[in-house]
């Protein structure tokens, strides 16, 4: 069943990489958030795979659960931020949020 684990990990990796690329390329704040979700999901896929194929077991699932919960919270907060940002800047373009540049 090694192949199974490898396959899961592969899927997780694809998700992760896609999420990262998403974050890197999307100028839309919401798009960036979506990238984050993808990354988190990639991680979750890995957790679940380890839960099934290694001795990690239930611990991995608990972790995945926490990740999901945190992702939800994060999404809520991030969205609030995005909204505030939008309220202040009248745009959702994250490139405009560069006031912390050096």
């Amino acid at each position: 069943m090694i192949a199974g684990l490898q396959a899961y990990l592969l899927v997780g990796a694809v998700l992760f990489v896609c999420g990262v690329i998403c974050m890197a390329t999307k100028r839309n704040g919401i798009g960036v958030l979506m990238g984050v979700e993808l990354v988190l999901n990639g991680a979750n896929v890995n957790f679940i795979a380890f839960s099934k194929y290694t001795a990690l077991g239930l611990d991995a699932q608990i972790f995945a659960l926490f990740v999901i919960v945190l992702a939800a919270a994060e999404a809520a907060v991030a969205l609030a931020i995005a909204l505030n940002f939008y309220n202040n800047h009248l745009t959702i373009d994250v490139d405009k949020a560069n006031r912390l540049k050096g």
Partner: protein
């Protein structure tokens, strides 16, 4: 005890002038400038001293039964034999005394001996050479002790070394004491008159000029003069009384400083203070040699004492210097056969640890020459003679007392006193030094025109005679001449002082002449002195060996006779007889020249003549007193009482003479040639007198003509053989140059090095500062600036662009991966 009596008497005579000095020096501050109290106090002190000395002489004579004088009834040969005999006894007595004492004392007293070595001042121990000490015993008068020595107090003790102040009283001491105190008394009295112009609040010194051309006006310093005279008397008597060579050195220096003070009495005169400095410094040159002699003696003998140290019971505990040199029966200094050196302390050897010590013969010569160097300085012998004529800057009584009669004779005295320590080589040196000196000085005296300078050179010349006499083994002759010379030379100086006083401080003889009419006493007493020094005599009624003569004849005759005997024994040294003989003629010439110039003929300077006058009685009385002694003190010559007294305690071996590489004549040898020498000397004196009379008395030949013809010689002599110039260029100038060099070296080189070091430090610290400010601070600044600029440049990376950050992260991860992969492949 005779010893204690003598000691007390002489110490009174010695210390009274010191007391006088202490009172007089402060007298000026509470007394009036016009008071003569100081003078009378000084006279009282020194006169009491004279009385003490004279009574000491009497005491001594009584103790010895007057044996030394009693000899003049004997025939000469017997005399010498007796002397010899007595001295033999004398020597025997030493050993007898030792063994007696050893036998007499038991163990207890030996213990005492150990405990009484360190004597306390309050516990003076009088020592006599005799063991029984019963000096009053008439039967033993022949063997009676004649030398008394002991310790006054202790200066310091270092282990086995002890430095003390001692006294050493023998006939020579007593004669010197009496002579010094007597002459000093006369001169003190004379000085009361001579210095009376100082009895004022406003003394005008005509020889000292201010920069505006005026004469110096100052308060009179009468009291100070007498204070210094008293101090001098104290020092001089201390010198004579001294019981060890170190003590002699102490008083040696003290008389030197007194001489300095007295020569420089007219402090306002540059010439006076120059002369004082010259006198003191030249004396110090001699003292430098003296000090070397002391060092050698101290190092090898470990004691300075002349006489033996004894404990209370009269037992000898330590030998003195005079007992330490072993001499053979013939008077030779014995050499140790093993080491070839001189064994110390083998003469008496009471102290076993002394007997093992030796001194190389060469160092013995060094010691002798060293001590003699001191004598050269003090007695103004060649080559240190130049200070004495300059010393005439002092008041004339000073010249009479210090620079003719006593202090300058101290060198001769010490040579005589220290005679037992001199080797034959040293004696020969002494003889030649004396010989050169007497000739050089006499030649200069011939051309001198200053009346005091003539006397000064004659003094040097006569001191040369004394030295010569001592050097050719005429111990008695040299000291005999010392005493007679003291009388007639002080007389002549006082006479010249009288002239100077009478002529209102005119000293140039060419301005005088015919003064005998104005000042007869001075003139005739002076003539006595002149005759005495010239050695004129009338062949006596009794025979050739006896003359009717003044003192100078006898003493000079003794010296010349000894010289002749010496030369007969050592023909190679013939100059030692020829030169003094010729000089005897020169002496007569210049002395009569002086007398004719001053007193005879007609006045050459009417102004001087008109104002001149005979001195008051207080000045002429001493002249008369002295003239008597100048004429007759040597009565009887070598068979007379004075000679007997002087030679009463002469070292035992002298009478024999010593045979050796240089044969030293004994008394017999001298006696053989005495008549010949006497006649030769007298002939020389008469011819000198004759020439003087021809030139100056009768005026048959104009001396100016001769002077012109011999101008080269005359100039040479007038310039005193160019000694002053020579010393100036050879010693003084180099000394000052070296001094300047040292000072320059100090300021330039040492301080230069120091300042250089300081500058280097400053430069280094500047560099350090520069380094600090540029390199160290620069480094820090560069880092700061680099950090800052790096931050500035990195700030551009901080775009604030979220997506770029993500990209960076990814790129970073990829790069890390690449690194990991390349670093750990597999």
């Amino acid at each position: 005890m005779t010893g204690e009596t003598l000691r007390n008497l002489l110490m009174t005579a010695w210390l009274l002038p010191l007391l006088g000095f202490a009172i007089e020096i402060f007298g000026g501050f509470w007394g009036s400038r016009k008071s003569r109290v100081a003078a009378w106090l000084a006279v009282a002190c020194i006169a009491t001293g004279f009385l003490c000395s004279a009574s000491a002489l009497v005491v001594w004579g009584n103790a010895t039964g007057w044996r030394v004088i009693a000899h003049d009834e004997h025939h000469g040969d017997e005399h010498h034999g007796d002397e010899h005999h007595g001295d033999e006894h004398h020597g025997d007595e030493h050993h007898a005394a030792d063994s007696d004492a050893h036998a007499a004392v038991n163990m207890k007293s030996r213990n005492d001996q150990a405990t009484t070595i360190g004597m306390e001042p309050g516990n003076w121990v009088t020592t006599s050479v005799s063991a029984d000490g019963n000096v009053a015993d008439a039967d033993h008068s022949h063997d009676a002790p004649t030398v008394y020595s002991g310790t006054l107090y202790r200066l310091a003790t270092f282990g086995g070394l002890e430095l003390t102040l001692d006294y050493y009283i023998d006939s020579l001491t007593l004669v010197m004491f009496t002579m010094v105190t007597f002459i000093a008394t006369c001169i003190h009295l004379f000085a009361i008159g001579y210095m009376s112009d100082e009895l004022t609040d406003e003394y005008v010194d005509h020889f000292a000029h201010l920069s505006d051309g005026h004469h110096v006006h100052r308060p009179g310093r009468f009291y100070r003069f007498f204070a210094f005279l008293s101090l001098f008397c104290f020092s001089m008597l201390g010198l004579v009384l001294a019981g060890n060579i170190f003590q002699v050195f102490i008083f040696w220096e003290l008389v030197g400083i007194c001489s300095f003070l007295l020569i420089g009495f007219y402090t306002e005169r540059k010439s006076a203070s120059d002369a004082a400095n010259k006198a003191f410094i030249m004396n110090r040159v001699g003292d430098f040699g003296f000090l070397i002699g002391l060092m050698v003696l101290w190092t090898f003998f470990g004691t300075f004492k002349f006489g033996e140290t004894t404990d209370l019971s009269g037992h000898v505990v330590e030998a003195g210097l005079f007992q330490m040199l072993p001499r053979s029966e013939g008077g030779d200094i014995l050499l140790d056969e093993v080491s070839g050196e001189v064994l110390i302390g083998s003469m008496t050897a009471p102290n076993p640890e002394n007997s093992s010590r030796t001194i190389p013969y060469s160092l013995l010569i060094v010691a002798g020459l060293g001590v003699f160097a001191g004598c050269i300085g003090k007695s103004a012998q060649f080559p240190l003679q130049t200070w004495l004529p300059d010393a005439m800057e002092g008041p004339t009584p000073v010249s009479a007392l210090v620079h003719s009669a006593t202090m300058v004779a101290a060198g001769v005295y010490l040579t005589g006193r220290f005679y037992p320590m001199f080797t034959q080589e040293v004696l020969l040196t002494i003889a030649y030094v004396g010989c050169i000196t007497l000739f050089v000085a006499a030649t200069i005296a011939v051309v001198a025109t200053d009346i005091k300078k003539v006397l000064a050179y004659s003094t040097i010349s006569q001191l040369g005679y004394m030295m010569l006499g001592l050097g050719v083994f005429g111990w008695g002759a040299g000291l005999f001449h010392l005493v007679t010379h003291a009388f007639f030379k002080s007389l002549m100086f006082l006479c010249s002082g009288s002239v100077i006083h009478g002529c209102h401080h005119e000293q140039e003889m060419p301005k005088m002449g015919g003064l005998r009419h104005k000042m007869p006493i001075t003139a005739w007493t002076m003539l006595v002195g002149v005759v005495a020094i010239s050695g004129l005599a009338i062949p006596g009624l009794v025979g050739l060996s006896s003359f009717f003569a003044f003192s100078g004849f006898h003493s000079k005759d003794a010296v010349v006779a000894t010289a002749l005997a010496f030369v007969e024994a050592n023909p190679a040294h013939f100059l030692l007889f020829i030169v003094p003989l010729i000089t005897a003629g020169i002496t007569a010439f210049y002395m009569f020249r002086l007398w004719f110039y001053t007193f005879a003929g007609s006045p050459r300077d009417q102004h001087v003549y008109d104002h001149c006058h005979e001195s008051p009685a207080i000045m002429t009385l001493p002249l008369l007193a002295l003239s008597i002694f100048a004429a007759y003190c040597a009565w009887g010559g070598e068979q007379g009482p004075l000679y007997g007294l002087i030679t009463g305690d002469q070292p035992a071996y002298i009478a024999h003479g010593i045979a050796g590489s240089v044969t030293l004549p004994g008394h017999d040898a001298v006696h053989e040639v005495h008549g010949t020498a006497g006649i030769l000397a007298m002939l020389a004196a008469f011819s000198g007198t004759l020439v003087a009379w021809v030139l100056y008395g009768a005026g048959w030949i104009n001396p100016g003509e001769i002077q012109k013809q011999l101008s080269g010689v005359h100039g040479f002599l007038i310039n005193k053989w160019h000694f002053d110039e020579l010393y100036d260029s050879v010693f003084m100038r180099p000394m000052h140059i070296v001094g300047k060099f040292c000072a320059w070296f100090d300021r330039t080189i040492f301080d230069g090095i120091l300042h250089g070091a300081a500058k280097v430090t400053v430069v280094v610290s500047r560099w350090d500062r520069l380094f600090d400010e540029t390199v160290v601070d620069g480094f820090v600044n560069v880092i700061g600036r680099a950090t800052h600029s790096a931050g500035l440049s990195l700030k551009t990376i901080q775009t604030g662009n979220l997506r770029q950050y993500v990209m960076f992260i990814v790129a970073g991860v990829v790069a890390l991966f690449a690194v990991v992969l390349t670093t750990f492949p597999g």
